[in-house]
């Protein structure tokens, strides 16, 4: 998956899991302040990410994540390690 596809995937997950309007999501959107994600939601998001990558996200990696683009980059790195 390239970064663009990962981004599309995240927009879809945010919509299905949290009913966040895709029109509200931008790469620079802050998950916590712009998209109203809380720490409990972040765990759900990590579970969904695990389904995608087949790998458990390290909690400390997710702690450094702030924006949608950060998530894309983190997932891209995890998936790149697989190859």
């Amino acid at each position: 998956m390239n970064r663009e596809q990962i981004y599309e995937w995240i927009v879809g997950v945010l919509h299905d899991t949290f009913e966040i309007d895709p029109a509200d999501v931008k790469p620079e959107s802050n998950l916590y302040t712009d998209l109203d994600i809380d720490s409990i939601d972040a765990v759900d998001l990590m579970l969904r990410a695990k389904e995608l990558t087949g790998k458990r996200m390290q909690p400390d990696v997710f702690k450094t994540v702030r924006t949608v683009q950060d998530v894309v980059d983190a997932l891209y790195d995890v998936m790149a390690e697989n190859h």
């Binding site: 299905d16 899991t17 949290f18 809380d38 409990i40 939601d41 765990v43 759900d44």
Partner: protein, 257 residues
């Protein structure tokens, strides 16, 4: 009593009550709780005893403030709290709401700031009473569910902090997530205090013109089943429940007021 004198008296009385609260807390820490941990070795039993002591202490404090004329209060449908394994939520207008609830709820459990668990003065009683720590991040949801399944009555303030008078309710989603993920009904408590006292950002000595009257009423349980439909992600169920709770509290408090 002329209102100026009454008001001055309530400032003095509040100072005395705060001092006795601190003193009582110190006494519990240095005298009572060391004895409890020495005498009661079984953990579950120690939890029960500790919670009973805390409840007694808070009841005494509530009574002291009433006797000294700081406020009056009435309780409605309080018998609804005399059960076990409840998820109790309440709005949070004043500093002493938690004292009221811990005083009237049997086997009361609450979430305590992680910093207090490391505080050498506080951690003895907090550990003995086996309260939930907020230091575990999202794992706190599971810890809360487990505490309720063990029969404790968990008290939560979904606003997270004291209400801002005149502003619409904004609930955090923790309580809803506990309800949805634990399939637990919520027991709502509505706290009214008129005129308001000990609100957020207000100095303790700025007492209102007349002694406030508290009304603490317990509503009927709010079932969680409507938010647990199959195919609905839990996070969405929790969001809908949170919105409905905000609306519910707005309506109920408007009806009472």
């Amino acid at each position: 009593m002329p209102s100026a004198i009454n008001r001055a008296w309530r400032v003095v009385a509040t100072a005395i009550c705060f001092a006795s609260f601190g003193l009582g807390g110190l006494l519990l820490r240095i005298a009572v709780f060391p004895c409890v941990s020495l005498l009661v070795r079984d953990r579950a039993q120690r939890r029960q005893v500790s919670r009973r002591i805390v409840r007694f202490a808070f009841r005494s404090f509530i009574a002291q403030m009433r006797v000294m004329g700081i406020y009056t209060y009435e309780l409605r449908n309080i018998e609804r709290l005399q059960r076990g394994g409840l998820l109790i939520i309440a709005n949070h207008p004043t500093l002493i709401d938690v004292v009221f609830l811990m005083a009237f709820v049997r086997n009361a459990d609450c979430v305590v700031k992680a910093a207090l668990w490391r505080n050498p003065f506080m951690r003895g009683p907090i550990r003995a009473a086996d309260y939930v720590s907020n230091g575990t991040g999202p794992d706190m949801v599971d810890a809360c569910i487990e505490a309720i399944r063990k029969g404790g009555n968990l008290i939560l303030f979904p606003e997270g902090t004291r209400s801002v008078p005149g502003r619409a309710f904004a609930f955090q989603r923790g309580a809803s997530n506990i309800a949805v993920r634990g399939a637990l009904a919520l027991t709502p408590v509505y706290i009214e205090c008129k005129p308001v006292m000990l609100t957020k950002g207000e100095k303790w000595y700025r007492v209102p013109d007349r002694a406030p009257h508290f009304v603490i009423s317990v509503g009927e349980d709010i079932p969680v089943a409507p938010y647990l439909q199959s195919g609905l992600p839990l996070a969405l169920g929790a969001r809908r429940l949170t919105q409905d709770l905000e609306q519910h509290y707005t309506q109920e408090l408007a009806r009472h007021g």
